[in-house]
């Protein structure tokens, strides 16, 4: 795991958490997308050796993690689509995507 990858994971994860702590549901969804991809990048970094192409051999990168990341990317992609479709349903029901506003109106009745 080299420095560039570590920094990439750190920045993605930090930015994602920062977005998830906000009020706006679109930002929260974007935050979950970022932290999911931070995890994917971390998984990828578990098998890189100096960025060489994945192939058999002692000094090259591990191809297995790349297939794992491919799988988890598909899952991330599917979940993101589902999350945004749920956001659309929320917008149709509440006419807003501000969590505090939804909370306030939900309590009001």
């Amino acid at each position: 795991m080299n420095l560039a990858l570590s920094l990439g994971v750190a920045i993605l994860f930090g930015a994602g958490i920062r977005l998830m702590l906000g009020r706006d549901l679109v930002r929260i969804a974007a935050g979950t997308l970022l932290i999911s991809n931070a995890a994917n990048l971390f998984l990828m970094s578990a098998g890189t050796a100096e960025g060489l192409a994945p192939a058999q051999g002692p000094t090259n990168s591990d191809p297995l993690v790349q297939t794992l990341v491919l799988t988890s990317l598909v899952i991330t992609f599917g979940f993101t689509a589902l999350l945004f479709s749920i956001l659309q349903a929320i917008y149709r029901a509440w006419k807003t995507l501000d969590t505090r506003e939804i909370e306030r109106r939900g309590r009001g009745g």
Binding site: F42, L43, L68, S72, F79, L82, L83, S85
Partner: protein, 456 residues
């Protein structure tokens, strides 16, 4: 043999997606598929009881290289009851008039398939994939089952659980980084030889992920809104079937893959478990709507599983398994009664309430007794006291809920007779298992032997 539940599940899910789930016969078709998977799981249980170890390495790869599916006591011990619970819930829902959504039956089969995969896989990453399969279907079912403005809870559920999945995925990455393998026994063996702090770090990530799935304090924030605002059948499916991913994951990863980390974290588990019981019970007492009382009650009840795991050893693992299954059955029963009205429903609720409070002859008594025994054998007086106090609090809030739901209201409408009879039969089955708990206790002791390796 072991591929049979997967073959049935995949084929049924693909066929059901093409059909219109609002028609009643499609719901019954889904029930047939889930019963088929249940039958296959029972056949695997018979094989395991015979002393065989059904296993297959997918794609014909040599063991250790390919993805391994295998059935052992822990796997089938969860697969059989969980598939049974899903079948019972789907049957009651069909009697009520079907799932009324186009893809509901297909999603229910996919949840069953994902859970079966989680229980039967021997590969860490494959565990993650199946777990996401069932979570993704559960997200969709929650969104479909929360009508109108309630749909906001689907976003809460989804964001919280994606966060848990991310933690789990990072843990899997860490395991692969540290051991160079994804096969559970190999990972376990290589971690045992690693003196550095990596196993503990990975174990904390996995622990946080499973606690989030189970909804344990301090990760319980998403549970009450989701369980109380989705329609009763979906809440029953989440609390009765899906939450088992958490308890199974804790037993599998804590008991089998990383036993050293589990022993190191003993105090943490006991403290979190005790805090969960207290917070969940007190909040349950302070709530008014029955659905919210049940939601906080499931938070509190899952705390006991953590206590049992923290005690560890033969008695602790057996108690954790028995408690997890007992609690799933009680919660599935209770949440499905909240959607029905009329005679027999109250009786079914009462069986669930007695089970939660741990009164004989209901099923919950068996769970509490196993836990009590484990705490007693450890000579941990404060744990024994805590369990008794928790049971008293549960008695209080469950009967408060019963009084509110069935005594203080005039009931004008009634559910159809078939739904009420279905709930009654479910309650009777739960009661029968409480009167004759041998199969459950026997499985629990086999699992404890497998994990603790000690003597009964």
């Amino acid at each position: 043999m072991i591929f049979l539940p997967f073959a049935i599940g995949w084929i049924a899910a693909v066929v059901l997606f093409a059909l219109d789930g609002t028609r009643r016969w499609v719901g019954w078709l889904a029930l047939v598929a889930i019963l088929g998977m249940f039958g296959a799981a029972v056949a695997l249980l018979v094989q395991v009881a015979d002393g065989q170890e059904p296993a297959i390495v997918v794609g014909g790869w040599p063991a250790g290289l390919g993805i391994r599916l295998r059935a052992d006591w822990l796997g089938v011990g969860f697969a059989v009851p969980v598939l049974g619970i899903i079948a019972a819930l789907l049957c009651i829902e069909n009697l009520r008039g079907g799932l009324r959504t186009r893809i509901g039956p297909a999603l229910t089969v996919l949840i069953s398939l994902g859970l079966t995969g989680v229980f039967l896989t021997g590969d860490v990453f494959n565990f993650y994939v199946f777990f996401e399969l069932s979570m993704g279907s559960a997200f969709a079912i929650t969104a479909l089952a929360s009508r109108g403005r309630h749909v906001r809870v689907a976003a809460t559920f989804m964001v919280a659980n994606i966060f848990g999945s991310v933690l789990f995925l990072i843990g899997v990455g860490g395991l692969y980084h540290a051991t160079g393998s994804l096969d559970m026994p190999i990972v376990s063996a290589r971690l045992g030889a690693d003196p550095a702090g990596t196993p503990l770090l990975v174990a904390s990530l996995l622990l946080a992920a499973f606690l989030l799935k189970l909804g344990i304090f301090p990760f319980h924030f998403w549970v009450p809104p989701v369980y109380s605002e989705t329609r009763a059948p979906a809440a029953a499916l989440l609390a009765g079937a899906l939450a088992n991913i958490g308890s199974y994951g804790l037993l599998r990863f804590g008991g089998e893959v990383m036993p050293d980390a589990l022993r190191t974290g003993r105090v943490v588990l006991l403290a979190i478990g005790a805090a969960t019981i207290l917070v969940g019970s007190v909040l349950a007492i302070s709530r008014q709507p029955v659905a919210e009382i049940l939601a906080y009650s499931s938070v509190a009840q899952n705390g006991y599983i953590l206590l049992a795991l923290g005690m560890g050893g033969y008695a602790g693992f057996a108690a954790a398994y028995v408690y997890a299954i007992v609690n799933s059955i009680a919660k599935a029963l209770l949440f499905s009664t909240t959607g029905a009205r009329g005679p027999l429903v109250g009786g079914a609720f009462l069986v669930g309430a007695m089970s939660t409070a741990g009164l004989p002859p209901a099923l919950g008594f068996v769970g509490k007794l196993a836990l009590f025994r484990a705490a007693w054998s450890e000579r941990e007086v404060w744990l024994v006291a805590w369990i008794v106090a928790g049971a008293l609090l549960a008695f209080f809030y469950m009967f408060q809920a019963f009084q509110q739901r069935f005594w203080m209201v005039e009931e004008h409408e009634r559910s159809s007779r078939s739904v009420r009879v279905g709930l009654g039969v479910f309650a009777l089955a739960a009661l029968a298992l409480g009167v004759w708990p041998e199969p459950l206790l026997g499985t629990g002791s086999r699992i404890a032997l497998l994990l603790a390796g000690g003597q009964p």
